[in-house]
Amino acid sequence: MTGAVPSRLRLAPFEHRRLARKARLRRELTGWLFLAPYFVCFLVFLVLPVLGTVWWSTRSGSLFSGTKFIGLRNFLELPDVVSAWSSIENTLIFALISVPPILVGALGIALLLAQIRHGGSIYRFLVYFPVLVPGVVAALIWLFLTNVDFGLFNEVIHLFGGKPVIWLGADHALTVLAVLDVWRNVGYWAMFFVAAIIGLPHELYQAAVLDGASAFARFRHLTLPLLRRILFFAVIVSTIWGLQVFDTALVLTNGGPGTATTTVIYRVWLYVFASNNKVGFASAISLVLILAILGLTLVQMRLLRSRRGQD
């Protein structure tokens, strides 16, 4: 660059254009070089499988002995197949009963954590610890809590003179699974909310205190509205996570009793890799799940953008 020929500092227009084009091309090439390692993985192991799910969902047969094209028959039969339908139902119920307590609990913990002056880090450490437990291990731990004979829950009930409860029976299994999820996720969202609360404008709260607003009024009319976007994001993302529950159901309850805790991904796995080889069916339910998740993602992107447009 610095070595430009001094006799001809001005370039003819066509030369200028050619040089600019060349520079742009080189820049484009550099960009692709930077992007390529990730982009190839993205295409091969994410985009392709998503499209592959669509393809597989139109076929019948087994992964191991070949399949044939049957059009949309999998989707037409889907509503009539009890096992598929109950797995969707279980997953929706699971998300519905696990997400609200996770977020309400997390918000409560976050409000407490944001207001204490000393010792916050030890609480943070302990509250966050269950988040780092793999689902499989969490489920093992909960076997020790829910055991009828020596589980912690029944010991506590016994201490207060109550009757032992069969926690993993048909009545409670899905609820227990949801509570496990609350235990495992509440810390994650609590940390998320703490950061958001600490970042809220301090002056507003000082003004509210001067105006005599009670703690609850401040929460109701300041914190909640200010956190609206954050809360909305948390609702969507935790719902999406809730729809993916699998490992805890496999280890804690084995999908049972019966199919009481067989979730969508659990059912997909059963269709393909356990007893029956219904690969098309598995893909059809997977596609339903993927579409639900994409729908939630799009709603979130749209709403976040429109809000941002407003302010």
Binding site: F34, F45, V50, T53
Partner: protein, 294 residues
Amino acid sequence: MAGATSAEARLSGADHARQRRRKRRRAEFLRHLLLAVITFILVAPFYYVFLASLKNSTAIFSYPPSLLPLPLYLGNYEALLWNTGFLRWMFNTLFVAASVTFIKVFMDSMAGYALAKIEMTGKKVIFLAMLILLMVPIGALIVPLWSLVSALGLTDTYLALILPPLANPLGAILMRQFILGLPRDLDNAARLDGLNDFAIYWRIVLPLIKPGLVVLAVIIFTDQFMSFIWPLIATTSDDLQLLTVGVAALRAHGGANYGLWSASAVMSLIPISIFFFVLQRQFLARSLAGALKQ
């Protein structure tokens, strides 16, 4: 209070301040109390399992449960370490998680650099596709992924465990955000000094986003440490099993063995606890990654 004379009602400034301080201290105490109860409930399960892991099977089933693991019984741990593949699973998990983390930190920061700094055609479309597919879980893709990996002849290899997780868009999106946050003059100045993109990336951008890289590494490593469904499907031989898969197999096969299960639960948590203890701040920032990607 209501019946106080007007002289008393008007508290002196000092009294007022003291009263407010006392009220504040009481509120602080209440908050601590509540938090202590909550954390106790959250942590109690760990202690209960830890306790069980140090008891023999008759002690586990006996009532009332002793709250101290005495006499100490280490048979569960011995059985876990010598009679199962636990150590091998642990090695596999750490090896795979470390490999994915290492590769992905470079890959994602490079992609982030391109997405943030370089004008190129189709960039917007690619970024949008990444955002849209961000939340699609690997569990919903097991059929095509399995057939893809077996078509590539990778079933039952480390590569089968390492490659698919590389596709997750979160890291590249995060890195783009971090790099966009850097002052623009910096790379203009570097360019005037004759540095090309590779030098800018390596010598200026990477050192500046180091805190972000550490957070990213923590995110990837923990996700990988916890991953289950893909490793469950991608591997069949015992030598390649990851911790989560092996522990789940302990549960599934060989009947109820609460002693062994509790020992495996405790041992599984050791590596991640150590990391958490050392990198507390970065781990807690893991939650914030979600907010950043907006």
